[in-house]
C-alpha cells in the first residue's frame, strides 16, 4: 500500500458516506433488513445495532486486515469505521445497501490512513504494466513440492504482493458481496476500471495456484 495508491483514489475519497447517492434498483430483503436495523438504531434501539454489528463485523475486519496487512492498524481502523457509522446515524438515509454504506466508510478510512502514514509506493501504477508482473516465481519451479499449508502461504503471499488497487477491489468483492458497479462507486472509479483491476488480480492469484493444481482442474 502506498501514497500513489492513496492519491489515485482521491476521487473516491471525496465520496463520503453522507454524500452517497447510490440508488439501488433492487434491494433484497437482507438489504432492507440491514437498513431497517440501522433506522431502528437511529431511533435509539441499541439492540438493532448489535445485530447489525454482529452481521458485518467479520467481513469488515477481514477487509481491513487484507488491505492494511497490519493487525494493529486494522483494529484502529475497524473502531474508526464503526465510530463513524454511529456518529452518522442521525443523518442516515436508505439510499443504498448498508454494505455499500459500510464499506465506503471503510475504504475512505483506509485511504486516510495511507495518507497519514505515507507508506512507500508500490512500483507500478498502471494496471496494464502490473499485468506483466506476476508473483510467485519461486512456487513456479516445477520441482517444488508444497503442502496445503505451503499453498495457503503462497496464495497469501501472492495476495499481499498484488498492487493495492487490485487487492482493494479483490478483497472488496470477496468480503462485501457487492457488485462491480457498487465496488466502482466505493472506490471512485468506473465499473470497467474496477472490472479490469479485478481481472488482473484474479489472473495473478490463479497463476500463483497453477503449479500446485493437478492438470484439468478448473480455476
Amino acid at each position: 500500500m502506498d501514497t500513489a495508491f492513496a492519491e489515485s483514489l482521491v476521487s473516491s475519497h471525496e465520496l463520503r458516506v453522507t454524500e452517497s447517492h447510490v440508488d439501488e434498483p433492487s434491494m433484497d430483503s437482507a438489504v432492507t433488513d440491514d437498513s431497517a436495523l440501522m433506522l431502528r438504531y437511529r431511533d435509539g434501539d441499541v439492540h438493532a445495532f448489535e445485530m447489525l454489528y454482529a452481521k458485518h463485523k467479520g467481513p469488515l475486519y477481514r477487509y481491513l486486515q487484507r488491505v492494511c496487512r497490519d493487525p494493529e492498524v486494522a483494529n484502529d481502523l475497524f473502531q474508526e469505521v464503526w465510530g463513524k457509522v454511529i456518529a452518522s446515524r442521525e443523518r442516515y438515509e436508505v439510499r443504498a445497501q448498508f454494505n455499500t454504506f459500510l464499506f465506503r466508510i471503510a475504504h475512505n478510512c483506509a485511504i486516510d490512513y495511507f495518507r497519514r502514514s505515507g507508506r512507500v509506493a508500490d512500483k507500478a501504477t498502471d494496471v496494464d504494466e502490473l499485468a506483466e508482473v506476476l508473483p510467485g516465481s519461486e512456487i513456479d519451479r516445477p520441482d517444488t513440492q508444497l503442502s496445503a499449508t505451503q499453498i495457503k502461504e503462497a496464495f497469501k503471499r501472492a495476495l499481499d504482493e498484488l498492487p493495492a488497487e487490485q487487492r482493494d477491489v479483490f478483497v472488496l468483492y470477496e468480503e462485501s458481496g457487492l457488485s462491480l458497479e457498487e465496488i466502482g462507486k466505493i472506490t471512485g472509479v468506473a465499473m470497467e476500471t474496477a472490472k479490469s483491476r479485478l481481472r488482473y488480480a484474479v489472473s495473478k492469484l490463479r497463476a500463483a495456484l497453477k503449479p500446485h493444481q493437478p492438470a484439468g482442474v478448473a480455476s
Partner: protein, 330 residues
C-alpha cells in the same frame, strides 16, 4: 492486451465458485478482538444514551427557543426600522419649528429695557426691508414645513405690520408711513427675528418726542404703554400660532372704538385693542399740545387723527378736540 482467456477466467471467478475464491476463504483470518467489540458496542450505547439525555434535558420551550428568539429579533428589527423611518419624516418639520421658536422666544422674553438697548445699536433697521433668512429654502417647502414656518413667522410679520402704523412722534412723515403700510408683506419664509426687532424699534421710535419738561406721569404712561404693546403683541402672536389665522391689514382697518359696539366676529380682538391704544396715545399727544398752547399743531394732529381713525369715538368734552367742536365740561 486483455486476452480472452483472462475474460473467461474472470467470468468463472465472478460465479463465486472458482479456486481463487476457495483459496481466499481458506486463508486464516483473525477474529475481531473482544476488546474492540466491547469498545464499539459501548460507543454505540453511549451515543444513544447521550441523545436520550439531551432530549430529556431539553424541554419543549428550549427546543422552540431558538426559532422564537429569531422571530422576535426579526420583529424588533422591523419595528425599529419603521420607527426610525417615521421619525425621520416627522423630524424635519419639527426641527424647523424648533429652530424658529427660540428666536421668537428670545424676542418675547426680552424686556423693554433690552429692546431699547438693542434699538440704540441699530436705529436704522426700522425701515430696512426684512432680510432673507439664511435658512430660507430655495425651493417650495413641503406642506408640513410650510405650515410650521408660517405658524412661527406670521405673528412676527403681523407685529411688523402693526408696528409701522403712523407714529404720533413724527406725524409729518407721511411718505414713510404710506410706503411702509403699502409695502407688501414679506414672504413667509423670509420672516424671522428681523421683523421682531423692527417692531421693538418702532415701539421705541413711535414714542412721543421728549418734551423739554415731562412729568413723571407721562413717562410712566409711556413705559406702561410700551409694556402693554409688548404684551398685546405676544398675546396676538400666541393666538395666531394656535389658531393659524393671519390678520391682514384690510381686516385690521375697520375697528370699533372702545366705547362702541360689539366686535365683529371676523375681526380679532387684539387688533382693535392695539389700534385703540395707539389712538389713545395719539389723543394724549394732542391733549399735550393743547396744554402747551400749540393749538395749530394740535388741530393738524387732530385732523390727521380723525383721518386715520374716523370711527374712533371721542368724548365731546375731550380736550383733544378742537375748541370749536369741544363742549364745555360740566
Amino acid at each position: 492486451m486483455t486476452s480472452s482467456p483472462d475474460d473467461k477466467t474472470l467470468e468463472e471467478y465472478l460465479d463465486r465458485d472458482s479456486a481463487v475464491s476457495q483459496h481466499y476463504r481458506k486463508l486464516d483470518a483473525d477474529d475481531v478482538p473482544a476488546s474492540v467489540d466491547a469498545s464499539v458496542l459501548a460507543q454505540a450505547r453511549a451515543a444513544v444514551a447521550a441523545a436520550r439525555e439531551v432530549r430529556k434535558s431539553k424541554p419543549a420551550w428550549v427546543r422552540w427557543g431558538s426559532p422564537l428568539a429569531l422571530a422576535a429579533s426579526a420583529v424588533m428589527v422591523v419595528a425599529i426600522v419603521l420607527e426610525v423611518g417615521v421619525q425621520d419624516e416627522v423630524q424635519l418639520p419639527v426641527s424647523i419649528t424648533e429652530q424658529s421658536a427660540p428666536a421668537a422666544g428670545r424676542a418675547q422674553s426680552t424686556t423693554p429695557a433690552e429692546n431699547e438697548q438693542r434699538d440704540l445699536q441699530a436705529p436704522l433697521a426700522v425701515t430696512a426691508p426684512a432680510p432673507a433668512s439664511p435658512r430660507a429654502p430655495a425651493a417650495e417647502p413641503a406642506p408640513e414645513q410650510k405650515a410650521a414656518a408660517m405658524a412661527d413667522s406670521v405673528p412676527l410679520a403681523e407685529t411688523q405690520q402693526f408696528a409701522v402704523v403712523p407714529a404720533p412722534a413724527d406725524p409729518l412723515d407721511t411718505d414713510r408711513r404710506e410706503s411702509t403700510v403699502a409695502a407688501p408683506p414679506a414672504p413667509v419664509a423670509q420672516k424671522s427675528v428681523a421683523p421682531r426687532r423692527e417692531t421693538v424699534e418702532t415701539v421705541a421710535s413711535t414714542a412721543p418726542p421728549a418734551a423739554p419738561i415731562e412729568s413723571d406721569r407721562r413717562e410712566q404712561e409711556q413705559i406702561t404703554t410700551a409694556a402693554a404693546r409688548e404684551r398685546v403683541d405676544r398675546e396676538r402672536a400666541e393666538q395666531i400660532i394656535v389658531s393659524g389665522n393671519v390678520v391682514t391689514p384690510a381686516a385690521r382697518r375697520p375697528f370699533g372704538p372702545r366705547a362702541t359696539g360689539a366686535p365683529s366676529s371676523s375681526q380679532p380682538r387684539e387688533v382693535r385693542d392695539d389700534d385703540r391704544i395707539r389712538a389713545e396715545e395719539w389723543l394724549d399727544e394732542i391733549r399735550r399740545l393743547r396744554d402747551e398752547g400749540k393749538e395749530a399743531q394740535a388741530d393738524e394732529q387732530w385732523q390727521r387723527f380723525r383721518k386715520q381713525f374716523p370711527d374712533f369715538v371721542v368724548e365731546h368734552t375731550d380736550t383733544a378736540l378742537p375748541a370749536s367742536q369741544r363742549e364745555a365740561a360740566p
